[in-house]
């Protein structure tokens, strides 16, 4: 089937079997490898994308259900060379080790800050509870995002 989606603001059409995951189609057919395939059962969050206004695991989204959908992937978060504030915050706090989980954390953090510009540390922990970092770099990720939330409070 042909599915037409709006990905990072750009309309794209793709031919795929309807049962394929949005993740595989992003990766293999649309040239967007940022969303990572790790557990492929919704446990790790490394494939997180924003579908409409909802944070989802793209491995659990059947592409056949995506006709006309608005999708934001990690590739659509920075403004050209200017990092998004959550990316800048994670960069400054060294909230990256091997980097495999990073796209999922960036997308989940953007989704949180879009809805709540001044989250508490608990809000951040809860919002990122579906994203797993096996280097266990949670402390640095959390520090960066708490500092971004503090900047938001001062403004």
């Amino acid at each position: 089937m042909i599915v037409t989606l709006k990905i990072n603001g750009e309309e794209r059409s793709v031919s795929a079997a309807g049962w394929e995951s949005l993740l595989n189609v992003l990766h293999d057919d649309l040239g967007l490898p940022g969303s990572k395939a790790a557990c492929e059962q919704g446990e790790c969050g490394s494939c997180s994308v924003i579908l409409g206004d909802t944070l989802v695991c793209s491995c659990l989204v059947m592409v056949g259900s995506c006709e006309g959908a608005d999708v934001t992937t990690v590739e659509g978060i920075a403004d050209g060379d200017d990092l998004h504030p959550v990316q800048q915050a994670m960069y400054e706090s060294a909230g990256v080790q091997c980097g495999f989980c990073t796209p999922g954390f960036v997308v989940a953090a953007k989704h949180l800050f879009d809805h709540n510009p001044t989250p508490s540390a608990i809000d951040i922990t809860e919002a990122l509870s579906g994203n797993i970092c096996r280097c266990t770099g949670y402390g640095a990720i959390l520090r960066g995002l708490v500092s971004l939330a503090d900047d938001g409070e001062r403004e």
Partner: protein
Amino acid sequence: MNFTRATNIDEALAAKNADTDAEFLAGGTDLMVEVNLAHHRPKSVIGIENVAELKETSTSRIGAGVTWDHLESSSHQALAHLARTVGSPQIRAAGTIGGNIGTASPAGDGLPWIAAIDAKIEVVSQSRGKRLVPWAQFFTGVKRTSLGADEMVTALVLPADMPQIQHFAKIGVRSAMVISTVSCVVARGTDGFRVALGSVAPTVIRVPRAEQLLNSETRPSEAALDEFAATVAKEVQPITDHRSTEAYRRHAAGVLARRLVVRCLN
């Protein structure tokens, strides 16, 4: 592959009637795991995630398409609590209570609540119309239900005498993103205590002998509570698997049920 996007229940039922092998897709949190890990290739899928009728709730029912993130603010205490423990934000935004019912995993987080409040499952088919199935007749085994090949789960129908005091707890290896080792809901209604447990039998179960022990006393003593916990541990039928052992699950079932009864008494 045939992908039908239903916009209402009638369209979904017509598609199911025309092809009873077609699989319903709501949040995808179960079906897509099968596709990804079991290399399951559905021949025909009926997408029901945009069916607005399935997202309606009232005091007497919860639509099958209601997602866990909405149930987190439910006025039913144990339901709201358990909804907050389902998976992760990503899973709660996609997964539905109807999916929990249709998948019928012994570990389905919503199922102990359904059993404790004695809810019914509303199922509909194009040719046979609507029927209400008591939960105990709906869940027949591990991921097995009495749902007909042409039917779909449309709602959870709540009892008129909803127990106002209800508590939930589950045990898993971590707090977030975990499949429960044992889960429990205790509800205290006008007829006494009802105790339901998940992950300790092929389906969600009630423990009638343990319930009877409690309900024969006005206020159970410590000794009665101990006997209750021991009876729960005897009455459950857990297995040893990669998540836990039979012995641990029996013990944990008694501990959790006792703890929730005490919460209901206070």
